[in-house]
């Protein structure tokens, strides 16, 4: 990364940033850092057959954080005029008033943080969004609509959206370390409404990657169109089944959202540091079958959750939360890493310069096992197969979760039978993890437009192989 490129964008110098971190620590405290952001975001919307609305948005500013032990002071400025940045540093420093310091940050925290990925490797932007005219993007949405309508004559409406962004990020801390990152993102979503003449059904398909306008390929168009109409026959024929406790088989890919919500959040170190997580104090303990390993990975090239650096300047990493059934690591930002006496795991993320970083997931998935998906389904006499969830919610302390089933089937005598809809799966995260009795060999990352909303919105992705949970509550008739 050309550091001067970033210094020029934000119109600051290294000595100026050094002074700013000193100002932030003037009242005391252990650590201060600066987070500069310049984001340009654009979108185009196709509705009623034409791309008739679109926009462009810019966001620019600097966030200043002071840490005093585990306490946080945070303020920001929407410009980088020296006096405004000094004011923000003064506001952030309030946290340290009267504080004498305890466990100071050391360079070694950074040095042990892991291997730098290098943003050039993780998300190259071959065709920069900033150099791409909106007029060249419009035809993609028009072709997508045309293709979707050609695949199913029940389609009555297509709403297609393209959103794209590029963020230039520069981070500097009171140890004098500087990290820079250029983060592209492109997302396409197609929402389709179908009618069979008597009633309507809807379906959505999306793809999102950290990449440039090269995203908009013919293969992406075909993939999205096919997914937008896939399973719609089943949806028209789906019914709400009889509920009860039964085995639940989760299909590979998008079911990974359950892993993210029901288990992943409970591994985030802030909840554990405060004693609120169901996994607090269980490091090194067996939490599930030894065939299971769960990963949070910021190093998948082009992935929506990829981070060359997190938003504290810590290099992106691959972190095993559960390794061979044993709780191996929480997901740390700098605060929790220091508190636990470990290296940060590159999970300190934030929505924008307006927010202080907190532990967040990136791409969360379960590694493949050995069973074939067909054998897993064949082993169930009576249960539910789910291949798409939405609207999940989890209670971090209790671990209780509820997920809405968007798409699934009954399993009867080892075979997929009637399609089901409008039901919820209810359970307890750690219990469900412990109740996984079979892991498929077909792990798949879902590249939809997943966004995690814990206090702030950050892009993530998720994945899972086909797995069977031996018993969960299915809410039906």
């Amino acid at each position: 990364m050309d550091k001067q490129y970033f210094l020029d964008i934000f119109n600051v110098t290294v000595p100026q940033m050094e002074r700013l971190t000193s100002t932030a620590l003037a009242r005391g405290g252990d650590w201060s850092d600066l987070y500069f952001e310049n984001t340009v975001y654009g979108d185009l919307l196709l509705k009623d057959g034409q791309v008739t609305s679109g926009g462009l948005h810019t966001d620019f500013g600097i966030g200043i954080r002071v840490l005093s032990g585990e306490k946080t002071g945070y303020a920001y400025s929407e410009n980088t005029a020296p006096e405004d940045m000094e004011d923000a540093a003064g506001a952030a420093s309030l946290i340290a008033s009267g504080y004498t310091g305890s466990r100071g940050f050391r360079r070694t925290d950074r040095e042990t943080a892991g291997k730098t990925c290098g943003s050039g490797l993780l998300y190259p932007e071959t065709e920069a969004w900033s150099l791409t005219q909106a007029s060249t993007l419009v035809p993609f949405l028009e072709k997508l609509q045309e293709r979707i309508m050609s695949l199913d004559n029940r389609v009555i409406k297509v709403i297609a959206r393209l959103s794209y962004s590029h963020s230039d990020i520069m981070m500097f801390n009171s140890c004098g370390e500087m990290a820079c990152d250029s983060r592209p993102m492109g997302s396409v979503t197609a929402s389709v409404i179908f009618s069979d003449g008597t009633r309507n059904e809807n379906k959505t398909a999306s793809r999102s990657f950290r990449c440039g306008a090269e995203l908009l390929s013919d293969s992406l168009l075909e993939e999205l169109a096919a997914e937008a109409v896939k399973g719609i026959d089943a949806r028209f024929g789906a019914r709400r089944p009889k509920g009860g406790r039964m085995p639940v088989v989760m299909g590979a890919g998008a079911s990974g959202i359950l892993l993210h919500e029901a288990m992943g959040h409970a591994f985030e170190a802030d909840f554990n540091r405060k004693g609120q997580s169901v996994f607090s104090g269980k490091m090194g303990q067996k939490v599930c079958d030894s065939s299971i390993s769960i990963v949070d990975d910021g190093t998948i090239p082009g992935n929506r959750g990829a981070c060359s650096y997190d938003d504290e300047g810590v290099p992106g990493q691959k972190t095993y939360m559960v390794k061979d059934g044993i709780l191996n690591s929480y997901l740390h930002d700098r605060i929790s890493a220091k508190w636990y006496g470990v290296s940060p795991t590159g999970n300190g993320r934030r929505e924008s310069f307006r927010y202080n970083p907190i532990p967040r997931m990136r791409a969360t998935y379960m590694e493949s096992g050995t069973a074939s998906p067909e054998d897993i389904i064949a082993s169930v006499r009576k249960g539910i197969y789910v291949d798409e969830f939405s609207n999940g919610q989890v209670k971090i302390g209790e671990g209780d979760f509820t997920f809405y089933v968007k798409s699934g089937y009954m399993i009867e005598d080892g075979k997929l039978t009637a399609p089901v809809k409008d039901i919820n799966i209810i359970g307890n995260g750690p219990q469900a993890l412990a109740d996984i009795v079979c892991v498929g060999n077909d792990m798949k990352i879902d590249n939809g437009t997943w966004t995690c909303g814990k206090e702030q919105s950050v892009p993530v992705s998720c994945g899972i192989p086909t797995v069977m949970v031996k018993s969960l509550t299915v809410g039906g008739e």
Partner: protein, 450 residues
């Protein structure tokens, strides 16, 4: 300047919305200061109409040179989109003329300007009760997170048809989350909040106590059998059931055939007792506004009256697309009229109910006798096209009007139209601090599974 410049380089119409907001918060963890945040935001939204085309743009970079470049680029972008004759500014006859100072609705507390960091810390400390939370035979307290915040939001909207409106409001809030551990090692959390446009009306004391009571109330949950029961929904979460109605009444959903209330305007499809008003112009109450995002004047008017759908939320664009009469863009401050269905009343109370009669939770629980009292929704969804819903719930079983035990792993399923047809009571106890005035609600024969 923005509008002048935009019009000079090719825009045919423009609307500009300028917002500024400041938020300060002091957060405590276990009674000690944990986080101090100061946020000062500004944003400029540009709605540009050019050559029969339309686009929306925003920036927080206000330097003149940058802004002119941005507007020029925005207009270039608009020109690349398809023409859409329905994109127009609202008719000047429909825009608000009475939002001149921003303070007409009395949502601004001048005391805001004088608050010091020390006062903010004191408010947070006053709300905390961690130091006095003693372990009991049933639980130990794991953590208490308590946050005081205050904010001011100032928004000015102008358009090239001559509209100019301003809305200013302050907000003061306190929230608390308490996590406990029961004797079985199970962690349970409770959350509560209070807010007001006025500092003097903010009740800080008691917030953590309520959160603790909510956490402790969850100890000892039991699985309850599924079936068809009366459902009472607490006023703190009842808006979850009202939200799909307002989404389905939105003009965009109607126009896109993505609404289960498409084709119901003017028709009676809900219970005769159900009346929901949009009381957008009530002074001093959160949610009130004199104009919508287009600048169109709001009005106090019925959304659903005696079970009939009285309005869709139709903005200028959707009006053009559908030929329907424009109304306002979205709901402002919905208020459900309190009632108890006559045939649900005990014989001795029939005909005795006056408008002043208080309808609160204990009364509704007594009225319903037995069933499920819902205090939280956990996941789930409502299909916008069909209105079919399925929500995970938390709460309590009740019998003879008394709460018996917390329940676990239950879902309620049904259809929104059927549900709102089965409503038997709406309380007079909506929380004043909420923008949507949705009170305690009671429904007959809701389907639960477990």
């Amino acid at each position: 300047m923005c509008m002048e410049y935009g019009m000079s380089i090719g825009a045919s119409r423009m609307r500009v919305s300028l917002s500024k907001s400041i938020l300060d918060s002091f957060s405590l963890l276990n009674g000690e200061l944990d986080k101090v945040t100061h946020s000062a935001d500004r944003s400029l939204f540009l709605y540009i109409f050019a050559d029969g085309r339309y686009g929306t743009f925003s920036t927080n970079n206000f330097s003149h040179g940058q802004l002119r470049q941005f507007i020029a680029k925005a207009i270039d972008t608009v020109r690349m989109l398809a023409k859409d004759p329905c994109r127009k500014l609202p008719d000047p006859e429909r825009t608000a003329k009475d939002a001149l100072t921003g303070k007409e609705l009395k949502l601004y507390d001048s005391e805001y300007q004088d608050i010091t960091p020390e006062q903010r810390l004191k408010e947070a400390m006053d709300a905390s009760m961690f130091r006095t939370m003693e372990p009991t035979a049933e639980y130990t307290v794991i953590s208490e997170e308590c946050e005081y915040s205050d904010s001011v939001d100032d928004n000015i909207v102008m358009d090239t048809e001559g509209f100019c409106g301003r809305h200013t409001e302050t907000s003061f809030a306190i929230c608390s989350e308490v996590t406990i551990q029961d004797n079985g090692g199970r962690k349970l959390s409770g959350y509560w909040w209070e807010s007001s446009p006025f500092l003097s009306s903010l009740e800080t004391g008691g917030c953590s106590r309520t959160a603790l009571e909510k956490a402790a109330g969850k100890i000892g949950p039991k699985r309850h059998r599924g079936g068809s029961f009366r459902m009472v929904v607490d006023r703190s979460v009842s808006s979850r059931l009202a939200s799909p109605l307002f989404s389905a009444l939105n003009g965009t959903a109607i126009q896109q055939k993505n609404s289960f209330l498409d084709g119901t305007l003017g028709k009676k499809i809900f219970s005769e007792d159900l009346t929901i008003m949009d009381m957008a112009r009530t002074e001093g109450r959160p949610g009130s506004r004199l104009f919508d995002t287009e600048g169109v004047a709001t009005a106090d008017r019925p959304i659903i009256e005696n079970g009939s759908v009285k309005m869709y939320f139709i903005n200028t664009y959707i009006a053009g697309k559908t030929g329907m009469q424009p109304t306002v863009e979205g709901v402002s401050r919905p208020v459900i009229k309190p009632f108890i269905k006559e045939d649900a009343l005990p014989e001795k109370e029939k005909g005795c109910l006056s408008e002043e009669f208080e309808i609160n939770l204990p009364r509704i629980l007594r009225l319903c006798g037995s069933g499920i009292y819902v205090t939280g929704f956990n996941g789930g969804n409502c299909n916008p096209v069909t209105g079919d819903f399925s929500y995970g719930i938390e709460g309590f079983a009740f019998c003879n009007g008394k709460i018996t035990h917390p329940i676990r792993e239950m879902v309620v399923t049904g259809n929104m139209v059927s549900l709102w047809n089965s409503i038997i009571a709406a309380g007079s106890d909506a929380r004043e601090c909420t923008r949507w005035q949705i009170p305690t609600l009671a429904f007959d024969k809701a389907d639960f599974s477990a």
